[in-house]
Amino acid sequence: MAYPTATLDVIGLWVGWFLMLMIYSYPLYKENVAYRAAEHMFIGVTLAITIITNFSNVMRMCITPMLQGNILMIVPLVLGLLMFTMLIPEYRWLSRYPVALLVGAGFGLGIRGTIKPNLQDAIIDTITAPTGGAMIDWFNYLYVAVGLVCSIMYFMLTFEHSGALKAPTRIGRLFIMVGLGAYFGNTVLFRFTMLTGRAQYFLQVLKLIPM
């Protein structure tokens, strides 16, 4: 990607650069007018784009086919409009029909598809011993096995976690903490990567590094 030459593109690049600095003025300095202005602009623009995109989508998928003679498209259109009755207290009950349909369809589809990949395949993979003789594979295998059993035992809430259950549930809690820690660590690192992208953009706009 080369540095843009068209005037509008260059303006867009610099507007983005200044808006980025306005947003970063909050963590790097403190909350201020520039930050708030950029934040409000971001929310406004995002909302506008979302509305336009979804409106176009409804037109493309529903209204246009309906006008072309696919009369059945009136059903999703009416169901979609019923969602807006949430905003009118007297007619809010009508919105329960599309919500019920959505939840029902979601559950049905979810359950249909989830058993093999999310349960069967995952269980088979967990209980299958490694074929190679590498120590690390066996360590991983045992680590996952112990972690899985102990973590599940931690959620056995119908029994008091004492006696025979005391040790495994405590180990389970440790595994859960390690798991959540790793998950949180990944989340933080993802944010850092986004920041890296911004740092790169900062330098690219100033032409200090190639775009």
Binding site: M1, Y24, P27, L28, Y29, K30, I49, T50, T53, N54, S56, N57, R60, M61, T64, P65, L102, A105, G106, L109, G110, R112, G113, T114, I115, K116, P117, N118, D121, A122, I124, D125, G179, A182, Y183, N186, T187, V188, L189, F190, F192, T193, M194, L195, T196, G197, A199, Q200, F202, L203, L208, I209
Partner: protein
């Protein structure tokens, strides 16, 4: 006199100890802005002066690359690339998607681009820029097609498996799908040879439950680092034939295809950010431990 001397000495030693203690405990109270400034500046340095940390290829990335090259992809196969990420995650997902697009195009595969993010058009445009040379040799509507935005989560992914035209009666530019040569005969899951989903969310999971599970469609995932802990077990279980995790995965793929790009450039900076984070955690913990020890005394 002797007593006075003892008292002065005692006060001095207490003050010395307190000052040492407070210096350490202050570590826990460093203004966050100091850390942010250091981080912001430190992230830029590797871009200006690359360090060149080595990059090794993870087996999950190797599997992803192998599954999209060589004997694994035949000429004329139809693949779906799902842009399940917005502009904010370009640095994480886009380099890997760029490499996968190049790999598929070079194997002669045809690609359908779709995306559940409202800014999907920007991502598609960006891809056209990052794969400029490959797109230049392909023809729109014959070798690739951009069907555009869709919404509805797992339900729509399931509907795509049954009837693609019902979700996308037209492409992004308004051309009816029936008038697009590439889409002739491409009707449902059985017409699709593989799917690459790139996500900040879990569209890869939706394709897994609605496509890979019931129909055995080849499925791969390009996820942000946060998704790694979800995606890798699915790769180990065989649901995904390959997985790329974050920018790191993108850098590995760039290395595999032999064209270094954005992810490789950013890797040094990302490594520095991780290093700074580790240092910050150590400093913060030192401060907290010192405070606790001081409290006990």
């Amino acid at each position: 006199m002797a007593l006075e001397h003892y008292w002065v000495k005692s006060v001095d030693s207490t003050r010395e100890a307190a000052s040492k203690m407070s210096a350490l405990s202050k570590l826990a109270d460093i203004d966050r802005r100091v850390f942010y400034w250091i981080l912001f500046i430190a992230l830029m340095v590797p871009f200006l002066s690359p360090i060149g940390f080595p990059i090794t290829i993870a087996p999950n990335t190797q599997d992803l690359y192998d599954g999209m090259t060589g004997d694994q992809v035949d000429e004329g196969e139809v693949w779906i690339i799902n842009f399940g990420y917005g502009v904010s995650a370009w640095s994480e997902c886009h380099p890997a998607v760029t490499v996968c697009t190049k790999a598929l195009f070079r194997e002669g595969a045809k690609i359908i681009f779709i995306g559940p993010h409202y800014d999907v058009e920007l991502t598609y445009n960006k891809l056209q820029d990052t794969c400029r040379e490959d797109f230049a040799t392909k023809e729109y509507g014959v070798d690739y097609v951009f069907l555009g935005y869709f919404t509805g989560g797992e339900s729509v992914v399931a509907q795509l498996a049954s009837d693609i035209a019902s979700v996308f009666p037209q492409d992004h530019f308004g051309t009816p799908i029936s008038e697009i040569p590439m889409m002739d005969g491409v009707e449902d899951v059985h017409s699709i040879d593989g799917v690459l989903s790139s996500d900040t969310g879990d569209y890869g999971g939706h394709f897994m439950t609605q496509w890979q599970g019931p129909y055995g469609t080849k499925l791969a995932e390009v996820g942000i680092a946060m998704n790694g802990s979800t995606d890798l077990p699915r790769w180990q279980a065989g649901n995904f034939f390959g997985v790329s995790v974050g920018s790191r995965g993108g850098a590995e793929l760039e290395l595999l295809i032999g064209e270094l790009g954005e992810a490789t450039t950013a890797m040094d900076s990302i490594s520095v950010s991780h290093l700074l984070l580790v240092i910050a955690i150590i400093i913060g913990n030192l401060g907290t431990i010192t405070e606790k020890l001081g409290g006990k005394e």
